[in-house]
Amino acid sequence: MVPFLGGASGWQASLLAGAAKTFWMPEQRSTFASDVDALFYGVLWICVFFFLLIVAMAAFFIVKYRRTDARPRAEKSSHHNTTLEVVWSVVPLIIVLWIFVVGFRGFMDLRVAPQGAYEIGVTAEKWNWTFTYPNGYEDSNLHVPLGKPVKLIMSSRDVIHSFFVPDFRVKFDIVPGRYSTVWFEATQTGQSPIYCTEYCGTSHSNMLATAIVHEPGEFDSWLAAAANWMEGLSPTEAGEILYTKKGCVQCHSTDGSVGVGPSFRGSFGNTRAFADGSSTVMDENYIRESILNPTAKVVVGFDPVMPTFQGRFDDDELAATIAYIKSLK
């Protein structure tokens, strides 16, 4: 990565390498990026101009009119000038009006998706993303075809989240109780980070995903293969994938460490004590119930925060998840 660092890697290396490829604004990977950036740099240079003007004027006056003697000697000068006032009110006003118009037009482009855009469903919940493709397949990353408008229909299962892809210059809040949308057209194959940008609690900063742009033909074959992903996998292997994909990983560890929920490691066959005083042995039925109706039995020492997965697991998936938990001795 950084030749002169030899073995150094990871973030320390990027610290010295100077992190990003660009100074301001990230790489341009959607059709919006060039317009948004044109405005950004336009405003930037206007601001640099005015800032330098202000600083230069202040510096000049300070040097020129600096008090050299203890006794102040201000020269006589008028303390009002209507022409000046009008000039420095009207000139900035015209400039900001121009910025306003360009910003508004860009905004309308961002907000109005073209007819026939490829639609993908997005579900946000603490603290993971689920992307649902037209054939019903769900993935924790966003896969899109190159050069085709894609429209995301987004909803939240709990609090407000916000969908942000810096490389595409799109962002929109996902407010519970309503759908919101975002659209974009990718211009390069490759990967871009997706962030949640509305604060949503403990793992807000881990609510990440990746946008992966495929060549158009490749995208269709990827989707077809992905939809049949369980084929050829053992239930345990499939369960391991579901564990990440369905977001269990956000709250349950597999190494024995306690997170928001209990660890899965070595849990199968153990006796669980519940907040209401009852207890049971962890078996297939208990896992099934925990997934579909998590608040029915709440393990002692934990908050009842696990969301229900009713309607989000089919029988094969349930069986696979149970097999996986069982395998974690």
């Binding site: 405005l39 405003v43 900035p92 309308m108 961002l110 962002k171 929109f172 793992s203 807000h204």
Partner: protein, 560 residues
């Protein structure tokens, strides 16, 4: 006896202007004489101590947040503690420090003296407002002991109605603080209307008073909306009544509208009195009439009024209708103009002045620097398509620290150094002060300018962990915060030391033309010994004559 004393024709005074050495600090003794005081100056000093303590506490949380960011993953805090730390940093800084600091500390101390009055219109209400501040602070801070809130200072629903942390005590604290703010605002409005001396028409008021007046109007009109919003949120949390929570049939975005209907004008509660201070500092240390008094005065009122109409610019990504966003974007740009007008008028006050680069003037110049950057970066955020990208990134964090922290705190420090000799009768060490100013300036820009860069690159705010590529900016930013903290601690050090070791201050060490510089340093209990001197133009520096014997100034008496 100096010429000043002769000129004033008052009875015998010492060199500092007070008869027989008595002043508001030593005229009565004991803790009770402070706790139950109705003297606006003592209340101002208590507010100063209280709000600066809040600044220290908020600053410690800021440093915790910055140090956590030294590495991309966990440095020393877990995610929950980090979330609590940034919430407390924001809530304490906004509600306990920046909103009350300038009006309640300097406004209280200086305003009645500038008016030549004995006190504010309602001294008891004034003391009540201080104790409401204390009560609010106790609730807000005590929430830390239970389990500190982790909602961010914005308390957005439905997160705030579902988190298990102690949101209700914190909300209740902010609710009470709102009353403190309303009391101060009411008091100031009445004081300015009723206690102005006959000769002081509206346009003969020092500009600091215009700033305070515009602020007071916002405090009285906007704060009740915050109070109602917080009350509704409490009702929702405590009784499950659906108001903002979609799960209960409420509307989460409604909360954001209510919240910003207060909190955007609150930004002007922070900046208007700060701008007032800057007008005083620039004119005084240029020893020259302020340029375009009327435009500066009107622009304060314009900012206060426009400030009520722009709250929707915080909701461009929330799903409010595009038409509404367009209107808010347009109005937001129009607020930029009165602010720009002020900056240019300050600059032209320097023109042909006699500029003395003392610490308060340095702070005024730093204010122009940081406030220009803060204001200009607001132009990026007002533009709709850019805001979509920049919203909720570090770009916004940097922008509001440049305006709120850079603007308000730099003005506050300028005012503190300007009025320190008047408030406590002692001079501080000028050399140390200028060195501390340099530290604050360098530290501030290093801390926050780096945040503009990483924000534009996409670094989201309120992130405990972050991608490796942002490490360099976070490390630089943290380094800046350490330099800045060193500057603040040095400032606290030499100011406190001056209280015992400083040279005694003359009546008018800086050449100010407003009335407080014709009062003793520190002022006597009723501000002036007998009737206040007649007031003239607050920026007529021809009347303010330098006296080499005492290295200070005196006012030529006005023709009667």
């Amino acid at each position: 006896m100096t010429t000043a004393d002769v000129a004033l024709g008052a009875g015998p005074r010492d060199a500092h202007g007070s008869p027989d050495g008595e002043n508001y600090l030593n005229c009565s003794k004991g803790l009770k004489s402070w706790l139950f005081t109705l003297d606006h100056k003592r209340i101002g000093v208590m507010y100063l101590v209280a709000t600066l303590s809040a600044f220290l506490m908020g600053g410690i949380f800021a440093l915790l947040v910055r140090f956590e960011h030294l590495t991309p993953g966990r440095t020393f805090m877990d995610a929950d503690s980090y979330n609590q730390a940034f919430t407390l940093h924001g809530a304490i800084m906004v509600f306990l420090f920046i909103i009350p600091a300038i009006p309640a500390a300097f406004g209280n101390f200086i305003m009645p003296i500038m008016l030549g009055a004995k006190d504010v219109a309602f001294p008891r209400l004034n003391l009540a407002s201080f104790y409401f501040w204390v009560a609010g602070a106790i609730f807000l801070v005590s929430s830390i002991l239970i389990s500190a809130p982790d909602t961010g200072w914005t308390f957005y629903t439905p997160y705030s109605s579902s988190t298990t942390t102690s949101v209700i005590p914190a909300l209740f604290g902010v609710f009470i603080l709102g009353f403190s703010s309303i009391f101060t605002g009411l008091n100031f409005i009445v004081t300015i209307h009723k206690l102005r001396p006959k000769e002081m028409g509206w346009f003969k008021m020092p500009l600091f008073l215009w700033g305070l007046y515009a602020t007071a109007v916002i405090q009285v009109l906007a704060t009740p909306v915050l109070a109602i919003t917080l009350l509704l949120l409490t009702v929702e949390r405590a009784f499950g009544v659906g108001i903002f929570d979609a799960a209960l049939g409420g509307d989460p975005v409604l909360f954001q509208h209510f919240f910003w209907f207060y909190s955007h004008p609150a930004v002007y509660i922070m900046i208007l009195p700060a701008m007032g201070i800057i007008s005083e500092l620039i004119a005084t240390y240029s020893h020259k009439h302020i340029f375009s008094y009327h435009f500066i005065a009107y622009s304060s009122i314009a900012i206060a009024l426009f400030g009520f109409l722009v709250w929707g610019h915080h909701l461009f990504t929330s799903g409010q209708s595009s038409l509404v966003s367009m209107v808010f974007s347009a109005i937001t740009f129009s607020v930029a103009i009165p602010s720009a007008v002020k900056v240019f008028n300050w600059l032209f006050t320097l023109y042909k002045g006699s500029i003395e680069l003392k610490t308060p003037m340095w702070y005024a110049l730093i204010f122009i620097w940081v406030f220009s950057i803060g204001g200009l970066t607001g132009v990026f955020l007002g533009a709709l398509s850019l805001d979509i990208h920049l919203h909720d990134t570090y770009f916004v964090v940097a922008h509001f620290h440049y305006t709120m922290f850079g603007g308000t705190v730099m003005a506050l420090l300028g005012g503190l150094h300007h009025w320190w000799p008047k408030m406590f009768g002692r001079m501080y060490n000028e050399k140390l002060a200028q060195f501390a100013t340099l530290l604050v300036f360098v530290g501030f820009n290093l801390t926050f300018f780096t945040q503009f860069i990483m924000g534009s690159l996409g670094m989201p705010r309120r992130y405990w962990a972050y991608p490796d590529e942002f490490a360099i900016y976070h490390v630089l930013s943290t380094a800046g915060s350490v330099i800045m903290a060193a500057g603040f601690f040095l400032t606290a050090g030499y100011l406190l030391r001056s209280l015992t070791n400083g040279k005694k201050a003359p009546m008018n060490p800086c050449g100010g033309a407003t009335l407080e510089w014709e009062a003793a340093s520190p002022p006597v209990h009723y501000n002036f010994d007998g009737d206040a001197p007649k007031v003239g133009d607050p920026y007529d520096f021809d009347r303010v004559i330098y006296d080499p014997d005492t290295d200070s100034y005196h006012h030529e008496p006005l023709p009667s």
